[in-house]
Symmetry: C2
Subunit: 208 residues, 2 copies
């Protein structure tokens, strides 16, 4: 599977280069199947040198997660900062789709975690998804959960997250079958168009 590797232009410090390599490898192979030797090879150093920057394999994994979580938490915070209208949910969804296209590694890591577990899986899930389902205190003091007043059921929220993330985790598989690159610009627009159509269908779906 030729999964695209994300190449960041971040600061060129060794620690960051290790994080980049580890992120791509963890996302591709999962936690336990990723060897520190592989990570070190990609950085161009020997594996004991990794220990100058991270306490151990698990700490490296944590650091990778932390960086990704920070990157991907922004859009939801932005959505939460205002009224949750249909249009703003639509905009939020589009932002997320673009974000996962730009860096598929969070989706891949999360999929590995959902399948096999691994360190800090529960924490990862909580920090990513709890805010979407948890009742929050609004300005008027009334506790509501996000999306509730758009008519979206938690089921649908889940389904759309799956749709967005599985595009990233499964699409490479369809490369040959579809005859085009799932990470191309046209493919992105196609997916956005399809997802928006579906979302509008769900806005009118009152469940069960």
């Amino acid at each position: 599977m030729a999964n695209q590797a994300v190449s960041r232009a971040r600061s060129s410090g060794t620690a960051d280069r290790i994080l980049d390599a580890a992120e791509n490898l963890f996302a591709e192979k999962g936690y336990s199947a990723t060897s520190l030797g592989d990570v070190a090879d990609r950085v161009g150093i020997r594996s004991p040198s990794l220990y100058n920057h991270f306490k151990n394999k698990e700490a490296l994994y944590e650091a990778v997660l932390e960086r990704l979580l920070a990157e991907f938490s922004a859009p939801l915070l932005k959505l939460e900062s205002g009224p949750v209208t249909n249009e703003r949910v639509l905009f939020w969804l589009e932002t997320i789709v673009r974000q996962h296209h730009a860096n598929p590694n969070l989706a891949r890591l999360l999929q590995h975690a959902a399948l096999s577990g691994g360190p800090h899986t529960n924490e990862l899930i909580d920090r990513l998804f709890r805010p979407m389902f948890e009742p929050r205190v609004k300005i008027d003091g009334e506790a509501i959960s996000l999306f509730e007043n758009t008519g979206l059921q938690p089921w649908a929220v889940m389904a759309f997250n799956n749709l967005v993330m599985s595009y990233v985790t499964m699409a490479p598989m369809y490369r040959d079958l579809l005859g085009r690159d799932p990470f191309s610009e046209e493919a992105l627009e196609m997916q956005l168009s399809l997802i928006k159509t579906l979302l509008r269908a769900v806005f009118e779906y009152k469940g069960s």
Copy 2:
């Protein structure tokens, strides 16, 4: 992640018990992270004894795939045996959803393959999905691809496969968040209802 393990009532021969254990482990951890020691432990034998039944790890993996492919190929063959109308596609989709609920292992294995590769990945993809996209020769000799005359674009076919399979691969993650068992009977009905609604939306979507 407490992924449900499929327990089959198949013939109680050692080879079958090995296949059952291996299927669950490969589905959970993926090919390389699954150790033959784990498989043997579940069967209740020592790992060298596995070699009395399978040539090596890869052959065991092949056998697991083969059994799953046989199990999951049936519905599509049935759909192909008649005219591809909207109603029959709907029925086919429902069958597939129920099938993945009953045994989530194929979806999980496929997801691992899509993420990390592994032996025979291309063959696996081909045998599962090629029939859906490949032009076939119909009775009147005209070459059409399945679904073409329902207005479904390959994109949508892909999206729905993702939706069905990612429910199985990701749902365990939502167990706490949703507050109910994603593999319960009610959850299955809920997912079917949502998916059918979406499919009807797609039937009217002509894509851009």
